[in-house]
């Protein structure tokens, strides 16, 4: 009888202790709430937001200051891509300087809507013409805007890049 009563109260006290233990944790965090905040005020911290070097946001074709890129149109990236996000449209054109016919890209089509950011195209590219950009704000109002042409208008192949 007394044993049962003792057990009863012990149970209650133990339960209360467990509850208070839990409240100590949350209490500790609310007391230091200012310091411990883990969320970021995202659109406000755009200027200071630094992505990691290797962050994969989108595929970009690199251009230098003379509007030259390094893509020879070899289509290795197109083959490597698991979901057909890249389409290289190329043509053989006469080089104005040497007069020889040379393979050149007309348009480097990139379907951002299909890309899974798997990095395989970047690994496949023999000339390091493409790389992963850091932009992750890809929201647009129309799906067609996600199909991009990566080579800038009038851009040429950089000198010295082997086909």
């Amino acid at each position: 009888m007394f044993r049962a009563i003792y057990e009863y109260f012990k149970e209650i006290l133990l339960a209360i202790r467990g509850l208070i233990n839990g409240m100590r944790i949350t209490g500790k965090y609310i007391a230091h709430a200012r310091k411990e905040i883990i969320t970021q005020e995202y659109p406000d911290n755009r200027d200071t937001l630094q992505m990691f070097d290797r962050f994969r946001g989108e595929v970009v074709l690199l251009h230098n200051e003379n509007n030259e890129h390094r893509c020879t149109g070899c289509s290795a990236c197109e083959v490597a891509c698991p979901n057909g996000s890249i389409e290289i449209i190329w043509a053989r054109r006469e080089d104005p300087e040497t007069g020889k016919k040379k393979k050149q890209i007309e348009t480097f089509v990139y379907h951002l809507s299909m890309c899974t950011m798997c990095n395989l195209c970047i690994l496949a590219c023999p000339t390091d013409a493409i790389k992963m950009g850091h932009d992750f704000e890809h929201a647009v109002f129309d799906r067609s805007q996600l199909t991009k042409v990566l080579n800038r208008p009038g851009s040429k192949l950089e000198k010295g890049v082997e086909e």
Binding site: I12, T26, I37
Partner: protein, 358 residues
């Protein structure tokens, strides 16, 4: 120092002086109704903001911080959004009951705050059975919940409503008993007199251990009664999506939402009135200087300070504890809260008989 009786009286006198008695009384009532409706809305909005903010800090987030200064206008914006939303009704719902439910809940919540004494003289009704009336009316809200669950023609809503029914019927007892314990000490049911009895010390201090136990029992039971976490089974979102108000949207949902928060306020206000001295300032023994400083703080501020402390405690509970299961909830009441309450009642009765209370 701060007595609102004269102010309220003078408004009454002014009205009676200007108009015929009938019109004056009608005007008085309109005034009271308007004030309380405004209070209801403001309380709801403020509490929703506070809850979201406090919860955010518990969870190491920032919470609403965009609209208005530090996000204070966020709830207003949300309320506006809810007002402008299309009132969706379920096809096979019982239309009358479906539309009635939010009003019953609102009515119950509104009736209870009309009894809360905010400061000396600031109280709409000061009836001599105040506490009894509160206990009676506050359980009316369950009718609204049951109606909402039943009429929505949704199984989740129905389960939620049935849970709520079982829950309120059982926890009503503990709320009543813990208040009864305090009635033994105060010797009155009238809220204003209860506060007067605490002029020389709050009951939680001069009521010895039973008062403290009664306080926590009351808090637990009434949190369960108003369906707040960790006892929020009727709307347990991980089980029942939204429980009894699953099928409500727009304005009607807002009614449920507001009522929930106002109920929280009422519970805190009654706890404050009965246990924490209502609007009485904090006094420390014979420290005349200290007491004078405390007296200087307006009683209405005292009241809201205490209420916020109790509300904070309730939020702390909610944002720390997991939810109980329905059978555990009932077990908690019938196996632990009820017996403890009865023991406490007997204990207090002995205490009062011996005249040991303050």
């Amino acid at each position: 120092m701060y007595d609102f009786t004269t102010l309220v009286q003078s408004i009454g006198n002014f009205l009676h002086g200007q108009f015929s008695p009938g019109v004056a009384t009608a005007l008085e009532w309109t005034l009271v109704i308007l004030v309380y409706l405004a209070l209801y809305a403001i309380l709801g909005l403020v509490l929703v903001y506070v809850e979201r903010r406090v919860c955010a800090f518990f969870q190491l987030r920032l919470g609403p911080n965009r609209v208005g200064w530090a996000g204070t206008a966020q709830t207003v914006a949300d309320a506006l959004k809810l007002l402008l939303k299309e009132p969706v009704t379920v096809n096979k719902a019982d239309k009358l009951l479906y539309n009635l439910a939010p009003f019953i809940i609102t009515l119950a919540a509104l009736t209870v705050i009309s009894l809360v004494p905010f400061a000396k003289g600031l109280q709409a009704f000061d009836i001599n059975i105040g506490l009894l009336f509160i206990v009676a009316v506050s359980s009316l809200g369950v009718v609204g919940i049951l109606l909402a669950g039943w009429s929505s023609n949704n199984k989740y809503a129905l389960i939620g409503a049935m849970r709520s029914g079982a829950q309120i019927v059982s926890y009503e007892l503990s709320v009543g008993l813990s208040l009864l314990t305090m009635v033994l000490l105060t010797g009155t049911l009238q809220l204003s007199t209860i506060i007067e009895t605490q002029a020389n010390g709050w009951w939680i201090f001069k009521g010895h251990v039973p008062a403290i136990i009664a306080f926590f029992l009351y808090l637990t039971a009434s949190i369960a009664e108003i369906n707040r976490g960790p006892f929020d089974l009727p709307e347990a979102e991980s089980e029942l999506t939204a429980g009894f108000h699953t099928e409500y949207s727009g304005l009607k949902f807002a009614f449920f939402f507001l009522a929930e928060f106002v109920n929280m306020f009422t519970v805190a206000a009654i706890a404050t009135t009965v246990f924490l001295g209502g609007w009485m300032p904090f006094h420390l023994g014979d420290w005349a200087g200290f007491n004078a400083v405390m007296d200087f703080v307006p009683p209405i501020l005292w009241f809201f300070l205490k209420v916020s402390a109790v509300i904070f405690l309730m939020m702390w509970f909610k944002w720390t504890f997991p939810r109980l299961r329905i059978d555990q909830l009932l077990k908690l009441e019938w196996k632990y809260l009820m017996p403890l309450n009865l023991m406490n009642l007997v204990f207090t009765a002995i205490l009062v008989y011996l005249g040991w209370h303050g």
